[in-house]
């Protein structure tokens, strides 16, 4: 039968749904059919009616519809209470993404009702005067306690609410698969996906159904289920997993053969036996799978985390495999896993075991290099070697053996043992050649020997250094072979040339190599690296071939040289920086810039050009292209001007810092004259003064002796020049006095020797007293020709003009004397005048002293000064009083008198006798 059903809402004429329902009708049937309304039935009266028609192919057409039944009313509102407000549906559970219609019904049409969804007011469609509906499309999950919707009557304490529980969508189980480890239990696993559980609502459940056996089990877990294999009879399995919750279900199926789903258990008892340096035996066990199953086991050998070897072994229960080609003293890991050999499904879990192979003798000779230097005249060889790699050491190096053999003389081998921690040693040798063997020792034995020959003669070290350019990859070094018999080459350099030790490095190269790239992580820009290329001869001796120097990248100099200013004149000065080392700079010094600036001069000197400094100031620049020229003369400068200069080196990367200018002020033009003339004069004067001071006694003897030496007086020559050839100096020895006679004693001529308080001017001194020393001849009758000598060094009184035809003439007195000095009166006057002048210059009260000087005979004296016509022997000698005025002395010291005259010192009484 086919039933056509109509459903109306609110009133019968408002048909909202028409549908057919077909079913087989039996006798006295009670048919059930249901319909779900989007709008909760409580909010509106619904009506339903139906009609039927035969729907059987056996009954021929035409088939007619029956009449419509009467409308049946479904009114849920009648069962509601008297509450003023209702909200439907109550606590509905829907799946996320569904559409939900909510309605409220109010008893009082005048009530103003507002509704809220999660606190936000919502506005619905009014279905009736007191019914409104809200349609929520694609509701989303907010929280497990549901989405709150409530309505309230304004101005009244009436509130009604519902909770809409939104469940996550139930997902189809993913990765559903089943497997067995022992043919007794099948374990099925899957990924359940999102949990759809809600509070007070049951979560999703999982059911496992096997179609061949028709068995069904409820799984205890959400992601796995165990199925017991009854017997060996069932080979094929068709499982269906059904996930179900309150809103629906999802299912997934899998069909498989049991023997194709074998997942063996993890092997056990993995051991290493007979572990040598290169071999080891691995044994393990597996859990048996049935009586006929064979397992394929995979044995991995891992070193440092990487699989080195992989072997497949088919076993039943016990596995064994001999691992070979192992490295001595190396840690390995053996790892085993197994799978069904017939139908591979999955590898079992892995079991692993670490082991270390035994040590073996080092397999490779050390890489040895040497450095020969002379210490205290003896060649000292420093040997360096690179530690053997783990691959070649084959164990822990215990020590190094260094054997030294003299090649020039027959002598015993010298063996040195060097600790394993050292990477070199130092040997002091002589000028002979030595062959040095170096071996590394571990517990299993020594390494092959590394042989090197050194000689005390360092060879040709004078090799011109060339430049080499550095790149990002390092230094590309090339050389020219020299002898053609080289067995190899060595390039030597220091990683840290500025340090001590400089971390010597070397690189061995084969004999057919003439270039290489030297790279090191230690290379830094701005550091000069020196490379030395050695040729290794067939005798294993190293000869220096070439020297190279270069920078990985040249930098601008960071410092400027210390410049010394010299030869400063008013127009020039010289700059010199000879201490500046060009080798230790961050680049090859190509030259220098000399900067000069002056406020006085706006134009640059010849050879200079204008330049702008970083601070935008202008200056003059001169470039010196020769890095070895370390002096520069600044010329054409203005006197008394301030100049600022700066000398900075430059490399290919730029010049040094342009910051610290040095000020120089040129002197005026005459200062150098002053320096050249006055300074020497001052020096000379000082020298004279010092000499005078040091030779004061000598000067006194020469210039102003206490008792003048007549031979040294120039008066004699003066007198001679006045054509008095008869005048001469009388020698004392020639004139032997035998009597003293006072021939004249003028009045008032008493010389007051003791009158210190009385000046000489107060003394009557107009006619000085003379003592005459008379000769023994009786016939002496009067004053004859006699020699008169005076010491002109002293101020002296004039001699008696009447008693002496000769009188002393001072050089100073001669030019200024108006009258002829040949007249005794004039002379006396002149002398008196001079004397009085002298007295006037003498302090009053000073003591005066009269000396009596013995006149020498004309025949005696200096033979050199003899006159051409010897004078006749004199008949008498005349003593002439001389006065000396010693400053500051009351009386002359007696010793002076006694030493100066052959006469006996006489006291006053004797004088006046």
């Amino acid at each position: 039968m086919l039933f056509q059903i109509q459903i109306s809402r609110m009133k019968t004429s408002n048909v909202i749904w028409v549908g057919n329902y077909s079913t087989v009708v039996k006798r006295d049937p009670v048919l059930h059919w249901s319909w779900k309304s989007e709008l909760p039935l409580e909010c509106a009266t619904h009506f339903v009616r139906m009609r039927s028609r035969v729907d059987d192919a056996k009954i021929p057409e035409p088939r007619f519809w029956s009449n419509w039944s009467s409308w049946k009313e479904a009114d849920a509102q009648k069962s509601l209470g008297r509450d003023p407000l209702f909200l439907f549906p109550k606590d509905k559970l829907v799946e996320e993404g569904s559409n939900v219609t909510i309605c409220y019904m109010s008893r009082n049409q005048q009530d103003n009702i507002s509704c809220y969804l999660e606190g936000q007011q919502i506005h619905g469609e009014q279905l009736d005067s007191n019914v409104s509906a809200f349609k929520l499309n694609k509701v989303s999950f907010i929280r497990k306690t549901g989405t709150n919707i409530f309505c309230k009557v304004d101005q009244k304490d009436v509130i009604k609410g519902i909770v809409l529980f939104v469940s996550k969508v139930l997902e189809e189980p993913k990765d559903f698969s089943c497997e067995t480890q022992d043919f007794k239990t099948l374990t099925c696993t899957w990924d359940p996906g999102t949990d759809t559980s809600l509070p007070k609502r049951s979560s999703q459940s999982y059911t496992l159904f096997e179609s061949f056996s028709g068995k069904k089990i409820l799984c205890e877990h959400k992601n796995s289920c165990n199925w017991q294999v009854d017997s060996d009879s069932q080979e094929m399995y068709n499982f269906t997993l059904v996930a179900e919750n309150a809103l629906g279900n999802r299912s997934v199926s899998v069909l498989f053969s049991l023997t194709h789903r074998v997942h063996p258990k993890t092997p056990y008892n993995l051991f290493l036996k007979n572990v040598s340096g290169t071999k080891a035996t691995v044994t393990w066990k597996v859990h048996p799978i049935g009586n006929y199953s064979t397992l394929l086991c995979q044995l991995d050998l891992l070193g440092e985390g990487n699989v080195i070897q992989q072997h497949n072994v088919s076993i039943k229960e016990n596995g064994e495999y001999l691992l070979s080609e192992l490295e001595p003293d190396t840690e390995y890991m053996a790892r085993v896993r197994c799978a069904d050999a017939n139908h591979f499904w999955k590898w079992s879990g892995s079991i692993s075991q670490k082991f270390i192979t035994a040590e073996a003798a080092p397999s490779e000779a050390l890489d040895v290099w040497r450095n020969v230097k002379s210490v205290s005249g003896r060649p000292t060889v420093t040997l360096f070697w690179k530690p053997l790699s783990k691959l070649h050491a084959n164990g822990k190096i215990l020590s190094y053996n260094v054997t030294v053999e003299n090649l020039d003389r027959l002598s015993g081998l010298e063996v040195h043992s060097v600790p394993a921690t050292a990477n070199g040693t130092e040997l002091t040798l002589d000028q002979d050649s030595y062959q040095i063997h170096v071996t590394a020792l571990n517990s299993a034995g020594p390494s092959p020997a590394s042989v090197i020959v050194v000689s005390g003669d360092p060879g040709n070290e004078e090799v011109e250094e060339e430049r080499v350019n550095g790149t990002e990859d390092g230094f590309s070094v090339s050389w020219k072979p020299q002898s053609g018999k080289a067995i190899g080459y060595v390039v030597e350099w220091c990683d840290h040339p500025q340090d001590l030790p400089c971390d010597l490095q070397w690189k061995n190269l084969s004999s057919n190599t003439t270039s290489t790239v030297i790279s090191s992580g230690a290379f830094r820009p701005g550091v000069r690296y020196n490379f030395r290329i050695y040729e290794i001869s067939t005798e294993r001796m190293a000869y220096l071939l070439e020297k190279k120097a270069g920078y990985l990248k040249e930098l601008a100099p960071s410092d400027n040289p210390q410049v010394v200013v010299s030869n400063l004149t008013s127009h020039s000065f010289t700059l010199s920086w000879k201490d500046y080392s060009t080798d230790s700079q961050p680049g090859f010094i190509q030259g220098y810039y000399v900067y000069l600036r002056s406020k006085a001069e706006k134009e640059c000197h010849p050879g200079f050009k204008k330049a702008t400094l970083p601070d935008k100031s202008a200056c003059c620049q001169h470039r010196i292209d020769n890095p070895e020229q370390k002096t520069f003369v600044m010329e054409n400068l203005q006197p008394e001007s301030v100049y600022e200069f700066l000398v900075t080196p430059y490399t290919s990367a730029g010049s040094g810092p342009l910051d610290a200018f040095t000020k120089v002020t040129t002197p005026d033009e005459y200062s150098h004259i002053l320096i050249r003339i006055i300074l020497p004069m001052i020096v000379c004067v000082l020298l004279i003064m010092i000499t005078c001071y040091l030779k004061s006694q000598w000067m006194k003897e020469k210039c102003y002796p206490d008792i003048p030496d007549p031979y040294k007086s120039n008066v004699l020559s003066l007198i001679k020049s006045k054509e008095n050839p008869h005048l001469t100096i009388m020698n004392v020895s020639d004139c032997v006095p035998d009597a003293i006679e006072v021939i004249h004693k003028p009045e008032g001529s008493k010389i007051q020797f003791l009158g210190a308080s009385k000046s000489l001017t107060e003394t009557e001194f107009t006619k000085p007293a003379y003592l005459y020393l008379l000769p023994a001849e009786k016939n002496y009758s009067g004053p004859g020709p006699c020699i008169c000598f005076e010491n002109l060094t002293y101020n002296e009184a004039a001699a008696d003009s009447g008693s002496c035809g000769h009188f002393p003439v001072t050089p100073e007195a001669l030019p200024g004397q108006p009258g002829p000095l040949t007249s005794p009166e004039n002379l006396l006057k002149a002398l008196e005048k001079n004397y009085m002048n002298s007295l006037g210059e003498t302090a009053a009260g000073e003591a005066s002293l009269n000396y009596v000087s013995q006149l020498a005979s004309q025949m005696s004296g200096d033979k050199d000064s003899l006159p051409a016509n010897p004078p006749e022997p004199v008949l008498c000698s005349e003593y002439k009083m001389q006065m000396a005025i010693p400053l500051g002395l009351a009386s002359p010291p007696p010793a002076e008198n006694s030493g100066l005259s052959s006469t006996t010192p006489l006291d006053q009484s004797e004088h006046y006798r």
Binding site: D91, E118, G119, T145, G146, N148, V163
Partner: protein, 215 residues
């Protein structure tokens, strides 16, 4: 601060009361109960915030004040001021004891229904503290010689909503339970403060008062 208060509470029994007669009397117990009330008040503030967020809007909105629909069985804390003042000590303490007995029972039901483990832990912790407050009130009553109220048979409060009890109404009940609990804690603080002052005046006993600041 919480740790500080816990430490204070832990050491409260060890604090010797400076009583001239040697009998500390009910004063320290009342003080302890008062402090515990204040502590629970602070603890509930945090718990209520978490739980109302768990319920969702509008229950976590500050101005939400629904009618007390299904929560009629909850003991009311609000009372007329004159009536409250006229309460004697025994009645005052008895009402507190009965109220917290009921509220604790309801709170345990709330704990059983909580969906998240964290919320269950917080509720369990609060229940333990509330149990401590109940014991403290019982101690005060015993010190004052008042008997504990006996629950009438068959009136054991349960928290099992009937089938007609919708989820929304259940949330309303949870809301009111927390709100009533808060009000009771406020009232209890006043009750025990009043009792404390009352006990201090006639007893002339010197008790060491430990103040816990910050709540």
């Amino acid at each position: 601060m919480l740790a500080c208060l816990c430490t204070v509470l832990w050491h409260l029994p060890a604090v010797p009361a400076l009583n001239r007669t040697g009998d500390p009397g009910p004063g320290p117990s009342i003080q302890k109960t008062y402090d515990l009330t204040r502590y629970l008040e602070h603890q509930l503030r945090s718990l209520a915030g978490t739980y109302l967020n768990y319920l969702g809007p509008p229950f976590n909105e500050p101005d939400f004040n629904p009618p007390r629909l299904g929560a009629e069985t909850l003991p009311r804390a609000t009372v007329n001021l004159d009536v409250w003042r006229s309460l004697n000590d025994k009645l005052r303490l008895t009402q507190n004891y009965e109220a917290y007995s009921h509220l604790l029972c309801y709170l345990r039901g709330l704990n059983r229904q909580a969906a998240t483990a964290e919320l269950r832990r917080s509720l369990a912790h609060f229940c333990t503290s509330l149990q401590g407050l109940l014991g403290s009130i019982a101690g005060v009553m015993a010190a004052l010689g008042y008997p504990l109220p006996q629950p009438l048979p068959g009136t054991e409060p349960t928290w099992a909503p009937g089938p007609a009890h919708s989820d929304f109404l259940q949330k309303m009940d949870d809301f009111w339970l927390l709100k009533e609990l808060q009000t009771w804690l406020w009232r209890s603080a006043k009750d025990f403060n009043r009792l404390k002052k009352k006990m201090q005046t006639p007893a002339a006993a010197v008790t060491l008062h430990l103040e816990a600041h910050g709540f």
